[in-house]
C-alpha cells in the first residue's frame, strides 16, 4: 500500500514539474513572440520615424565624384573671359 502511495506521489510530482516546464515554455514563447512583433511590425515600432536618406558612404562617394576642385592661380595676363551671373 505504501509502495502504491509512493508511486502515486512520484507520478504527481512528475506531472507537476511537467506542467511548470510547459507553462514556462509557453510564457517564454509568448513574450518572445510579442517582442518579435514589436520589432518587425510597423504598427508596433516605438522609435520616431525618420525620413529615408542615402547612406553616408554613398553621399560621400557622389560628392567626391561630382564636387572636385579645379585649379586657380594668380592672373598672368589681362582677362580673356569674365565669370558673372547670368
Amino acid at each position: 500500500m505504501a509502495s502504491s502511495e509512493s508511486r502515486h506521489a512520484a507520478a504527481w510530482r512528475r506531472a507537476h514539474a511537467a506542467k511548470v516546464v510547459l507553462g514556462a515554455v509557453a510564457a517564454a514563447t509568448f513574450i518572445g513572440g510579442i517582442d518579435l512583433v514589436r520589432a518587425h511590425r510597423a504598427s508596433h515600432h516605438r522609435a520616431a520615424p525618420k525620413a529615408l536618406q542615402a547612406p553616408a558612404s554613398f553621399t560621400a562617394a557622389v560628392r567626391h565624384d561630382l564636387l572636385q576642385a579645379g585649379v586657380v592661380a594668380p592672373p598672368q595676363a589681362p582677362p580673356q573671359a569674365v565669370t558673372a551671373l547670368s
Binding site: 560628392r63 576642385a69 579645379g70 592661380a73 580673356q80 573671359a81 565669370t83 558673372a84 547670368s86
Partner: protein
C-alpha cells in the same frame, strides 16, 4: 584668341579658340539643349515631362542630365535639387522639374569637347576651359583658371532668385556673388550654388571639399582658405 559670340538659353555665350566649324557645332549644341530643357518652350522635353499625368519615356540625353542633377542633389545634401522626381531608367515622372542647376554648365562642359585645340566656352559667365585662362571676377580683380571650370552664382543681377529648398523661400544669404573653381564647369556651378545657400558657412564648406571659393557681399570680398592658398 578668336572668339565667337551668340545667345542661347537666355544668356550670352562666348566660345574662344574655336574654328568656324567648331563654333557652329557649339552653337548648335546650346540651341539643342535649349529646345530640350527650356521651361519656357511648350515643345521642350522638360515641359512634356512636367505636364504629363504619368511617367514619360525621356531621351538618353535628358536622362543623363537628370542623373547629374540628382547627383548634385545628393552631393549637396539637397541644396541643389531638381525637385520632386521619380526615375526608373528612362521613365521619368515629375512635377515642377527644374534642371537649371546643371543644364547650362553641363552644356559648357560638353561643348568644350567639341574644340580641337585650346579654347574655352563661357555660358553666361560659367566657364569651361581646356587651357589656362585669365578670368575677370565680379567686383573687380582676376584669377587664372589653370584647369577645370569656374562659375559664379548669386543674386545681384536678377534679385533674390536662388530659392533655399530647406525653407522654400528666397535665400537670405548675404552674398551677392559666389565664384567657385571646380574640376568641371558643372562641378563649379553646383558648388557655387550650394556654397551660396550655406550662407556664412559657405567658405568653410568649400574648404572641407578642398574647393576654392570667392564670396562677394556688396563690396566686401571674402575668400576661403583654399582660394587664398592658390592665389
Amino acid at each position: 584668341m578668336t572668339t565667337h559670340r551668340f545667345r542661347s538659353m537666355g544668356c550670352d555665350l562666348v566660345v574662344g579658340g574655336a574654328t568656324d566649324a567648331e563654333a557652329a557645332a557649339v552653337e548648335a549644341l546650346f540651341h539643342e539643349r535649349d529646345r530640350m530643357f527650356s521651361p519656357f518652350r511648350a515643345d521642350s522635353e522638360l515641359t512634356a515631362v512636367n505636364e504629363a499625368d504619368g511617367p514619360v519615356l525621356v531621351s538618353q540625353l535628358f536622362a543623363d542630365t537628370l542623373h547629374v542633377a540628382l547627383e548634385a542633389e545628393t552631393a549637396t545634401g539637397g541644396l541643389v535639387t531638381p525637385g520632386d522626381v521619380q526615375v526608373t531608367g528612362r521613365l521619368v515622372r515629375a512635377r515642377g522639374l527644374d534642371l537649371n542647376g546643371v543644364v547650362k554648365s553641363l552644356a559648357a562642359d560638353d561643348a568644350l569637347t567639341l574644340l580641337s585645340g585650346d579654347g574655352f566656352v563661357s555660358a553666361g559667365g560659367d566657364i569651361a576651359s581646356k587651357a589656362p585662362l585669365d578670368v575677370a571676377l565680379p567686383g573687380g580683380g582676376a584669377v587664372r583658371l589653370v584647369r577645370g571650370g569656374i562659375a559664379t552664382s548669386g543674386t545681384a543681377k536678377r534679385g533674390a532668385h536662388i530659392v533655399d529648398p530647406r525653407t522654400r523661400r528666397a535665400s537670405t544669404a548675404r552674398w551677392t556673388h559666389v565664384t567657385v573653381s571646380g574640376a568641371t564647369c558643372v562641378a563649379a556651378d553646383v558648388a557655387a550654388k550650394a556654397a551660396f545657400l550655406h550662407g556664412d558657412d559657405g567658405p568653410d564648406w568649400l574648404d572641407e571639399l578642398g574647393i576654392a571659393g570667392r564670396f562677394l557681399a556688396n563690396r566686401d570680398v571674402v575668400v576661403n582658405r583654399t582660394w587664398a592658398a592658390c592665389t
